[in-house]
Structures are given as C-alpha cells and as structure tokens.
C-alpha cells in the first residue's frame, strides 16, 4: 500500500505509537500498590512485623518513584512541548499523535507519582501492625 506521507530515513521508535508506553507509569503505580499491600500483609501476618513492613515500603516506593521519573522524563521528551509550545495535538499527523501520546504519558506520570507518594504516606506515620 502506498502511503502519501514523507517518510523519514530512520523509522521512529515504537514508543511514538505505543499506548503501552503511555500507561507505563500507572502500571508502576499498580505494581507498587499491590506490592506494598501484599508485603504489609505478609510481614504483619507471617514474618517480621511493622519494621520490616515499613522498610519494604520505603524501598518499593523509592524504586517506583525512580521508575516513574524515568518514564515521565521520556514521555516529556516525546511530548516535545518546548519546541512549539503545542499542547492541543488535534492534527491528523504522525507528529501530533506522537506528541499526544507523550503528553498523556507525562500527565499520567505525574498522577502516578502523586499516587505512589500518597500510598506510601501511611507508613511514614504508622509504626504498628494493629
């Protein structure tokens, strides 16, 4: 099939047309959430106690935040806001589709980072399994 469109020499990376990359940050949020919940249940019920639970939560939170920062940074680069200050992305072009997916991915990274911090916050205050 002939596509009437300018073809760059280097094919763009897969992430430019990938919804999976867009939702990577909330997926990290869900893994963090499930991991923290399971870890707390296990350490409170089977081994250790609140200290192990809180240590694990701290580690998981640091790892999740680091991942989300990387995902968010790459989405920000893909959004490419500073080149044309465009945040609407409603044209039928490859560029707008790439920017839209980047923009949504970046916004999702922010909400996921907030979600991770929120979920970790109770461990900051509560030091018991009761």
């Amino acid at each position: 099939m002939t596509r009437i469109e300018d073809k760059p020499d280097d094919p763009p990376p897969y992430r430019h047309r990938s919804i999976w990359h867009m939702i990577a940050a909330p997926v990290v949020w869900s893994l963090h959430f499930a991991g923290v919940y399971a870890w707390t249940a296990l350490s409170c019920a089977r081994f250790g106690g609140p200290d192990e639970a809180r240590l694990g939560i701290a580690l998981a939170t640091a790892a999740a935040l680091a991942l989300i920062v990387v995902i968010g940074w790459r989405a920000w680069k893909q959004w490419d806001f500073l080149d044309d200050y465009d945040d609407v992305h409603d044209a039928p072009t490859t560029e707008h589709r790439r920017e839209f997916l980047g923009h949504a991915g970046w916004l999702l990274s922010i909400i996921s980072a907030i979600g991770v911090l929120f979920v970790a916050a109770p461990a900051f205050y509560i030091g018991s399994c009761l």
């Binding site: 099939m1 919804i19 909330p26 869900s30 919940y37 296990l42 916050a121």
Partner: protein, 862 residues
Amino acid sequence: MTETRTQQSAFHVAEPEGTYPPTEEMLDTPVDPGLKKAREDRLRAAWKQPTGLRYWSAVNNSEVGAWYSLTAFAFMLAAGVLALLMRVQLAVPENDFLSAERFNQFFTMHGSAMMFLFAVPMFEAISILLLPAFLGARDMPFPRLSAYGFWSFLVGGIFVLSSVLFGIAPNSGWFMYPPLATEAEGPGSDIWLLGLSFIEVASIAAAVELIVGVVKCRPPGMRINLMPLYAWYVLVVGAMILFAFPPLIAGDFLFEMQRSFDWPFFDPERGGDPMLWQHLFWIFGHPEVYIVFLPSIAIAAMVIPTAARRPIVGYSWIVLSAVGTGFLSFGLWVHHMFTTGLPSLSLGFFSAASEAVVIPTGVQLFAFVATLMVGRVKMIAPMLWIAGAVAVFTAGGLTGVMLAIAPFNWQVHDTYFIVAHLHYTLFGGMIFPIVAGVYYFYPFITKKKMSEKLCRLSFWLTFTGFNICFLPMHLTGLIGMPRRVFTYSGDMGWNWLNLISTVGAFILASGILVFAWDLIRPKSRQPLTERNPWNGGTLEWAHDIPDPGWGVRAVPYVTSRYPLWDQPKFIERLDEGRFYLADAEEGLRETLVTSAVDAEPQHVARVTGPAWCTILAAAFTGGAFIFPTFHMYPPAIVCGVLAIASIIYWLWTSTAQVPKTPVKDVGLNLRLPTYVSGAKAPGWWGVFITMLGDATAFASLVFGIFFYWTARPDFPPQGTAHANLALVALAAVLFSASWAATRIARGINRQGKVTAARVLLGLAPLLAIAGAAALIFALRLPGLAPTEHVYPAMMWAMVVWVCAHVGAGVIMQGYCLAGSIFGKLTPRYDADLWNTTLFWHFLIITCLVTCALVGIVPRAMS
C-alpha cells in the same frame, strides 16, 4: 507520486494494495447519479431489517442497542418501585407496611438490580447503540455477540428480578456477605449468585465487543489523538470490566461451591474465611462504581463541546483523567472494609488511594467547566441535566473525600450517611448524565425529538425531589440511623427527616415518570428531526434521515476531532458515497477494520446478519445457570451442552468464512484483504481480550490461596495430605505437549503440511484430556476431600477451573481439526487456528501455575 505496489508474504497472505490516504482530487471525483442510486439500493438490501416475527432475529447495533437500553430502563423502573415501597415503610416509625423479611428482599434487590441490571448494562447498551456512529462504522465488529449478550441479559434479569414477586428473592444485601448469605434459607442467595454470574458473563462479552470496536473499527484517519472522548472512556471502562468483573466471578464460583456442595471457603470452622468474599466482592465493587460513572460522564464530554460550540478544552487532560481514574479505582476497595479489623497500615494505603483518585476525577470536571467558560454557550435542553449532574456529583464527591478518611468512616459506617453519599455519586455521576444523553442523542436514535418542555419539567422535578430525598439523609445518618433497618422507634429523632425523604422520593419518581413518558409517548405524528439539531461536530450527526439501516452511507476518511465542523466538504462527500465501502456488490454486511493507533485501513470485515442461533444460545446458557439454582443438575447439563452446540453452530456458519476473492476494492483506489488472521483480525483481539479477563479470574483464585495462607494459621493444616507429585508433574508434561502440538500445527499448516497439522490437531485434545485426568487423580489418590477443610477445597477449586478450561481448549482444537477436514481452515485461511493457539497460550500458563500451586507451593507453605 502515487505508485501501486503489491505486497505479498511468503504464504500468499493478501495485504492492502493501492493508495492511502486519499487525495483531495480523489475525494472530489463525482459519482454518476445512476451508479450512486444502484449502490444505495444494494447497501439498503444488504442491511435490510427482518420484518414480522423475524424482526427479533435482528442483530445490528441500532436494534439490539435500543432493546438493551429499554430493557435496562425497565429494570431500573422496577428497582425504583422497590425503593418507593421502602420509603413508604420508612416514612413513619413503627410502620408495618412491609415485613422485615420483605424489606430485606427489597433492599437487596433494589441495590442488585440498580447495579447489575441497570447501571452496567446501560453503559453497554448505550455504547452498542452509539459507538459505531461515533466511529463512522457500519456496525459493531461482532453483532451476534451483542445480541447474545442482550438476550442473556434479558433472560437473567427477568429471572433475578421476578424472584421478588414470589417472595424468594435474595435478602442478604447487594454485597451478599457470608456467613449471612451462605447460611440464608431458600434459593435467594443462589438466584443472586447464578443469575448475576450469568449477567456478568454478558457484561464481559459486551466489554470485548466494545474494546475491539474502539481499537479496530475506527474510520481511516481517525488516529488515537482524534478519537471522540467517548471512545476513550469506552476503552478505559472496557478494560476495567476485564479486570473488575472476573474477581467477582471467581468469588461467585467459590460461593456457589459452598452453597451447593458444602466446600468451606467462607466457613471459619473448617479453615475458611468470610473476609475473602469481601475482598473479591469489593475488588469488583469499587471499580464498578467508576465503570458506571466514567461512561456516563463521557456523555457529558460529547454534549459539552456542542453546547459550548467549540472543541473540548484539555483533551489530553481528560484522557489522563479517564485512564488515571481507571487505574486508581482499583486501589480503593478496602475503603468499603474499614471496620473489618485490618491493620491500620493497610487501611492507610486505601485511604490514601481514595483521596488520590479525587485528582483525576476533579481534572475532568475542571476541563468541562473550562470548555464552557471559553465557549459561546447555547443552553440546549440536555445541558440542564449536565449542569445538575456536575452539581450533584460534586456534592457526592465531597462526602466521598470525607468517607475516605478511616476514622470518620468508622463513625458513619452503615448509616444513612453512606446511603446519601452513594446516591449523590450515582445520581450525579450516572442518572443525570444518562438522561442528558437520552435527550441529546434521541434525534439520532429515533430521528424524532423529545419535548423540551417535558425535559425541563422532568429535570426540575427530579433535581428537587432528589435533593429533598437524599440531602436530609446525611443528617439522618449522622444522628445515628443505621441503613437496612425495616423500621425504627419514634423517639430517636429520625421521624421528620424520614418523612421528608419519603416525600422527596415521590417527587423524584414523578420526575422520572415524566421523562419515561416523554421517552415512549407515540411520536408518529411528529415531524422528523433536522439532520444536526444541536449543530454537533462529531460523526453521529452525519446520520441519514429517515434511517436507511446501513449505519453510515460510506466509511469516511477523517482528519479532525470534529469532522462536521472542520472538514469542509464532508457531508457532501459522505452523501455522494465518495468515501470507503460505498457499495455492497456481494450483498454482504461489511465494515472497515483499521490499525489500532493510526487507523490505517487493514481489512474488510464481513459482519454477521440476523440469526436465531444467538437467541437459542442465550436461552440454553440461561438454563445452564438457572436450573442449578434449584439444584436441578441434569437439565442444567443438557442446557449447557445445547448452549455449546448453538455457539459452535453460530461460529461455524458465520465466522472466519473462506472468502470468494482474497481482496476487495473498497473505493478511493484501495483494495483490502477480505480475510485476515492473527493480530490483525478482530476475532483474534476478541479472544485476547476475553482471555485477559479469564486470566484475571484465575489470578483471583491464586490470590485466594495466598490470602488463606496469610490470614489463617492452619492453611495448609498440619500433617495434611498433599497432591500426588508424580501425577501433577505428568499433568504438566501432558498439558505442555498439547499446547506445543497446537502451536506447531499452526506453523506447519501455514507451510502447507496439512496432513501433519491434522495429525497434531487430532493428538492435542487426547493429550489435554489425559493431562486433566492426571490432575484429577493427583488429588483423588491421596484422598483430599473438599468438604473437610478449605485447603483441599481450594486445591479442588483450582483443578475444576483448569478442567473446565481444558474442556473449552479441547473443543477448540477439535473445531480446527474439523475445519481443516471440511475446508473451512486452509493454509491461507487459518484464523481459527490462530485464535485457538492464542487461547492455548493463556491456558498453558493457567495449567502450569495450577500444577505448581497444587504440587509444590503447599509443601513449601507447610
């Protein structure tokens, strides 16, 4: 610049040929009037509705969607009548209008029916009705699946709801907590479990259909950044259904095993734990609230740009909000269980996530308000309902923020404050936007208008009545009235508040009745509506009046989020049939399948036409679920077999048919394959999505094992027998061999080695059956008895689950073998084999995880 190139893979699989995207000259080339007329006649003939009694065999989205929504609305009215009767009972203290037992049945059925028979099905119904039009598609990708879902819903809904007339309805509350529900006398709990499981299956079917519709049936050019927001919401909600409903189905499975066969999953005396049900129910139940809310608010996202007469503000932000809410809503379930004694640390996670979900929810409301602020708002009648929705939902959201705080929640747990909160969110988040949607889309659906006067009257009655009814309930709850009591004594200080609520309930009901009258009043003398009465910009307003039945005159080429506003000659080109698939030369019903992200044309899908087999399949599926309610197992098995037979007949006669020609001219110098297999085919996506849901249900059972292990010291009990390790290992080997045979058969069939493929496809089911037998004996030999303790019961539950799935896998392998022998499946036309292999990829994971969990993990746990 335009060159034509033919691409063909090594196995002569047809690929798209020709030019894409179309040029302006191509789109401007006039069509000869005679040809145009002939094409329209052929299209009209292909999409002609059956008449007379055969009308009910229709499967196209406009009929099924209309039946579906009217049925859901009728169930809603029925559930509303139950609410009114309860309000009469509660109007004055010490009332004896309803007995306690009847009151229990009524509140259980009110909640169950509103959630399972109205809120979720209404989303499916409206989406089936409208989505193809939003996407410029002729129909949904699997029309018969929609029809099957609808008929299943009708049978199941009537069954569940009518139980209330015989006084045998479930009476343990809509969330059916054990031990109350497991110990309840009579068939009530079984009616709830089996009847609603049946409807949950229909919901998953609809979710599969809708996701594939959004991903694969968009018009050429409608890239993912141009999709109507409604489609985004449908995608998110469809995915949520896949992850939310299966835990409940898994829970229902365990629950019914306890009710019917005394397997003690929720019985603490034999190692069970009622909390597992609460977890599984609310892992479903909380996302469900958002499953109900998001598609309704999506209607607002379609109405608001039209009212504001400008594109939506913050499209990406609304997508963020839909997707973000979809995810976060899965981290909230324990906020329904704050008083169950979980560690406060765990409560904290859910409290925090419940607060976090407010952010994306707020973002979308602000985007709506921003659109209205910067637009030139024309206050069209449906906007009244949208405004009411925003006001009421915001009030409900604010009490939600309060309830997410665990200590506050403990104070008002199970009081009327909760009742007030949930009705504010559901009325504001669902009823109001849906009614707005009905008023807004009615001219599209029926080509007639509803009355603006009645719209305003019903709005003000509903809005006033709603607030009179539910606002006082906050206070009733705060001063201590518990929910679900059938009466109360006169000296508690609740009398006036309850009386006011009852008066409000009747005003509210009168508003809904005015709406219902406006909806169904005869309109045959009324003129047809103009084509685009609200001056909307999205594709559905390019509809033809009167309705010719073909969905859309031609599948358009789209370059804007609002084609009717932004694409100058759009309507002219559409009416002339200058877009794709403007003809039906072979008299077949067809729609276009495009790529998932950029919507490049890939394939012409032949969609199915009117059929009775879907109704038969739904009736027999109903029998298979309904007879066990009354412990009548032989007729249930017969119905199950007949349901499978009807489904096989339906698939065999109408799906993945070998086409007469491998490619077809779809117009605008583009030729597309008429048959695709693998990841380009809608059917493959259907299997993939179904199996994701299935995997979630399986994961819920796995969660059950680990839940018992953490929650119970005696899981597994000391000194218990374990499964026979050698037989478990044998089962794993046999399952793997069956899977490998299927996968290899797919490869060598493509290469043309048909006989070898047939041998493998003949061998594979035998291996699978032998594997299932080995797994059963692995539990039987050491004498694991499921009624003794939850540990053997859980092991048996896993094995039953695997055996049922292996049964389906074996049927699919046999189906492919038969297809190969009778010429339905060839090296070139092998979609069924791809789909079967995909099913087996999921199945082999299920089998191997089960083998590990039955054979190895319990030994490590003890």
